[in-house]
Amino acid sequence: MIVDDEQPIRVACAKILSEEGALTETAENGLAGLEKAKENDFDLALVDLKMPQMDGMELLSHLTRLSPDMIKIVITGYATLDTAIEAVQKGAYDYIPKPFTPGELRTRVNRGLEKRSLQFEARKLREERERNLLELANEKNRTQTIIHCMGDGLLVTNRDKQVVFCNPAGRRLLKVKRPLPVGEPLGSVANDPEFIELVEGAMNLKEGHEMASKELAARTPSDPVLMANCAPVKDEKGQIIGAVTVLRDITELKELDKAKSTFVSMVAHELRAPLAAIEGYLDVILEGVGGNDPQKIHKILERSRERTRGLLALINDLLAISRMQAGRLAKEKEKLQLSILLKDVVELIKGEALERKVTVETLVPDDLPLVYVNREDITRVVTNLLDNAIKYNRDGGKVFIRASADDTFVRVEVQDTGIGIPKKDTGHLFDEFYRVKSKETRAITGTGLGLSIAKRIVEAHDGHVEVESKLHEGSTFRVLLPI
């Protein structure tokens, strides 16, 4: 925009600048210039000082306020030092005394425009930097929140093994009730010398090692067992300036581990007993210590075979348990009419019942509500209960299998008239390898796993299994399966 009250100057300037590729507007006094500036966003204005209606100085002030980025160059025939200073104070960028040559004008205008684009660039950079700082602050906030909410403990120590930072989980795991002031010695936070050793070790790792780990045993039974992973903290130059330790509560894992090894040792014992017996029998024959009565030898071999079968049954049960643990989630289920399944199992087991002179009575209605179950699993449960009812019965005894339903459950009951279960044993009946020891059970073989498998299966179906028993009168096992 060119603002000058002399028409020839306006025309000349417009012509020179248009040739440079600029779009120009002109105004003949300050007021007109201000009106134009309100309508358009000019990059640069040439402003004469002496004008009617509104002079250049006033216009400069208005323009500076209206669009601070506009470059304002004063063109005047009355150039004095005072007016130059005043003009600059009012926001002018440059000051060209009249008369000027076209070349002079071009140079000054171009410099002004260059200044303008530099100004923009600088502002953009400044804004970017401010935005980055804001993001950084947000990021810091977010990181802090995350560390604060972590389930694992986080503990940072400096080169002198003083605590620099510890998140709430870390304080909880280390059982530090008070807030931790920065600079607290590690020894007063963790009184486990192994922990301190670990942190020391992490700051002095051998080449190629990135982290040191250690399991920290519970110091009292109420303490958690901790897994501590400790890594050195390095500065930009790679100098070790401290260590960061992540603490995880592995108490439950350890307990699971313990339960597993108890199970393994029980299995080992259960496998050894029959094998030791079989070896014993074979010794008797091979070393000839028992004489060589063929009838005796036959009896020994028969007993050995029985023990071998027991071993195989045990191994099958163990495999069933391991399958159950492996594929617990992916069992195929179907809507099943239990009455058919129950009658099928009874049919299969009749031979065994006949052998033991036990009669099986089936009292099962045909129209039970359907249950959503794994057929193979439930067959296993029912077979096991019926098998037990026959095995632990007396000669000429009876087994009743009943089924009924209410709104929520189908109930299957297997009742026998057998030897019954002593009260002290009923609580352990579903434990792995638990077998009732008595005169009557002595000669009955079993893996000790049948009922524990049955319980696992029923519970995996959200069902429930229970037992009622009277010694010397018989037992009733009841399975509830949800409809």
């Binding site: 030791a276 014993g280 010794d283 008797v284 210590v289």
Partner: protein, 139 residues
Amino acid sequence: MKTKAKILIVDDDLDFIEIGKLSLEGKGYRVFSAYSAKEGWKMVEKEKPDLIILDLMMERLDSGMALSQQIKNHRQYASTPILMLTSISRDTGMDFTPQTGEDLKQLNVDDFSTKPIKAKALLEKVEKLLAQRIVSKRK
């Protein structure tokens, strides 16, 4: 005389009784059996055996120890040699294995062995204990 000795096996392990019976009967011993300490005491009174093979852990962890004490405290049976057998040390981590004669006395037994025991080793121990008994009787 020696081959006619009466031996009582007290053990809740059916197979052990069977194997012991077979090997001892093969050597001409008369063998009786009991499956619990309670039954064992009844058999001691009924059969008055010359030697008792006793399992330490039956109904309870120390059933065998209680029975050996009962036997050794009884005038009539105090001299009956007892061979105690157990697999307890390996099963439970509790090691009762006696190291000295003093330990044996504490357990009220004359000899001790862990299970499983080979038929031949069992026979050797039985023969040795019976021989000692004959010697001490002569004295």
